[in-house]
Symmetry: C2
Amino acid sequence: MSDVAMAGRRARGGGAARRAERTAVSLDTAKFITRNIPNFEILNEEALQIIEWNAETVLEEVGVNFLENPGALALWRAAGADVRGERVHIPRGLARKLCATAPRSFTQAARNPERNVEIGGRNLVLAPVYGPPFVRDREGGRRYATMADFKNFVKLGYMSKWLHHSGGTVCEPTDVAVNKRHLDMLHAHMTLSDKPFMGSVTEPVRAADSVEMAKLLFGADFVDQNVVMTSLININSPLTFDSTMMGALEVYAKAGQAAIISPFIVGGAMAPVTVAGTLTQVLAEVLAGVAYSQLVRPGAPVIFGAFVTSIDMNSGAPTFGTPEAAHITYGAGQLARRLGLPYRSGGAFCGSKLPDAQAAYETANSLNMALLAGVNFMLHACGWLEGGLVSSYEKFVMDADQLGTLHHLAKGIAVDENGQGMDAIREVGPGGHYLGCAHTQANFKTAFWRSDLLDYKPFETWDEEGARDTEALAAERVKKQLADYQAPALDEGIRESLDDYVARKKAAEPDAFI
Amino acid sequence: MSDVAMAGRRARGGGAARRAERTAVSLDTAKFITRNIPNFEILNEEALQIIEWNAETVLEEVGVNFLENPGALALWRAAGADVRGERVHIPRGLARKLCATAPRSFTQAARNPERNVEIGGRNLVLAPVYGPPFVRDREGGRRYATMADFKNFVKLGYMSKWLHHSGGTVCEPTDVAVNKRHLDMLHAHMTLSDKPFMGSVTEPVRAADSVEMAKLLFGADFVDQNVVMTSLININSPLTFDSTMMGALEVYAKAGQAAIISPFIVGGAMAPVTVAGTLTQVLAEVLAGVAYSQLVRPGAPVIFGAFVTSIDMNSGAPTFGTPEAAHITYGAGQLARRLGLPYRSGGAFCGSKLPDAQAAYETANSLNMALLAGVNFMLHACGWLEGGLVSSYEKFVMDADQLGTLHHLAKGIAVDENGQGMDAIREVGPGGHYLGCAHTQANFKTAFWRSDLLDYKPFETWDEEGARDTEALAAERVKKQLADYQAPALDEGIRESLDDYVARKKAAEPDAFI
């Protein structure tokens, strides 16, 4: 081969390699976090025992309501509970005993096996915001979310290095009928991303649709034998389990699919105004909900959930990133570990209307506490704005970047010989400089976390480039990521079967908008 | 007395009471934090022992430099160190033994005894930003700091409920001669605030001026018998103690005044690029510096300092709020506690040019880690911007507001009968609402931390009021606080003696601007 031909090969090879590298960078997804640091244990043994005792007292004396659900009442009665009307009084110890069949940890499969996540143990899996009816971006302002927005957020999630999970209702696509939008949402997660995702919970039939579509994507046998969806079952706090959510839970439990059993609490409104009282109620609710999941199918994979915010007693508005929310998140983590269940809590919570300093203070408070609280599954890990009313494009990429800090924090401190760095200290000595020493050269690429978004430039450079704030940098990144997006490969036959399922289901009934 | 006269009395009383209440709100200063939560212990016993062993190895084998300081070398030689030129090799165990005479905790007196702070133990004392040559505000942008700015920041510190300490160089008053500005700065802290403050360290004679002025303010006997200043002695990392800083330390130690002995490290430049290596060097430097303070005067009050940031290896810029800084802050806290010394670290650190989301993410990361790391004295707790080059007016009040979260986090979780809230759960029951129940009514005023600055309003109200971001809300608060400011009362004789001292000293030598 001539040198010219070789050069041509190298050039092509180099170009392809560079393109591959660029692609690799944009599609790089970090493995879920496995903590090598302790959890923060805020409650002592005595306090934990008091709360656990009180939760059982609540279940026995006060009881929980299972509304419009005779099947559930029958299961509880058969298990030994004292059922009076729709009120279930659970004898001390029964709920905890029933919870024992739930797995301590489970794997949720993604269609790309490299994206599988292990939920439980010392792991932390990060998923994006869930549920907002509005979106906001810098140029367009605040507006009702549409299916086009939904697809954009799924794409951004797919492009986010530190996000392990595609989530569920990343925003509510309000331009699609309520009884059909779950089909479009699942189709988007299944085709636009290859990360794991969540199923629909708004009606039991929509949960069933989720399972059917998952069977088209993964194959029916695979879905029978593996967890391929983790879905969000909210408890109607205080102490109430409605038939819609329980119906969805029943569908998923019977299909062997995972559910987060999650009290939804604004402190002082749906639970006592004190932290220990809220923890008592959270534990009672999770014990009852998880026990019920195991009555439906022993061994069904479930997560101990706790969505808890504080409240501004002046206005009644929920508040985020507050010390009381941190107390509850730390305490609930301890209760979850003692119960032997994976733990869901935390998120990029904030009450701010804009992705500004308030949003970032509150979010950072929330993310840090969630890492140290031992959370295993963090929904809302990026994009949450305005108390969950808004999915913010800019905040999505800002938060997603910050999630990198959690990965590095969780690594802990290496104290092996390289970590100790004694050779470096000996080499450099008093008054010297470490930048050029051998130890620095060997370690600098991986030693420090580096943001892909925030500004590290000298003032003068930053000023010349337009003196942009974080929101402006994020808006640019959103545009670039959406422009760079390329869908992961998907078998054409599978895609057609998903298209067909959605079309058939949509044609089968009229649109409903409530 | 007639009803009319009574009504007049009530009206006057009511007006005075309301005025007093307004005044009380603006001048309310929270007591320093005493933690009722555990510290976060990131390193296990084995790792701590390795780092402690290595630090002693560094002191013995590598040694430390005491530059242009024959007195220090003589003290070290007499204490048993191996002194070669200006290099001091400290035999294993000697430095730690010398450190044993330093107090575990000390009280710094303020001229208002209600503002006294206890530094050490489970306490956390918060002080504002220190050292920036620039200031920034929303209207005026970024500019060199002046004495007028300095006074404004002292006033804001005095007005800040969650700030316990007036600090030191809240910004560099660049319009006053370098050899005289310490006089104006001390005068401002002493007259515009009644919170505790820091002394000058830029030359030993300026430290001596600080002690003299403190004697005018507190009385000479009081200063002899009490700590009235805590000053910042930076170590010239790696492993170098220069004569300016050591000279100031000597002045303060001999006067029984407190000093923070603090490595100043940008990781990878002034210390090894790995966390355990940095911790080793930090410990070696603090051991040497504290031991030296005890050679100068056994029992001199000192603080184990650690100012450590990471670095962006692309640009060489220091970076803030990063995971590696958190690792070091947690680890150094453990080392300080094992050494039995109060611990200084943390701050409202950020690299951002604006008080935007980047600033708040990085700051919240830093503040949270400092609380859990067991920090006893936090300099830079508010107002820090742009890597410490800028004191930001808006960020000062934003951060100062966030410091409230640390106070509430540190309270921990009450599990007494009221905390348990069982009566509330019994009263409300499944499906009920807690807002009106007796337990909520009894607790709602103190149950939840509430920001005095951030926005909790409904979207529509916020939008109608101008859709302001956090910086805009903060700018308004800055203006209001400076307008509302009233100086604390000060004996006229003391004020005149301080005025006179400053005038006399200023007249005694020509201005120097380097």
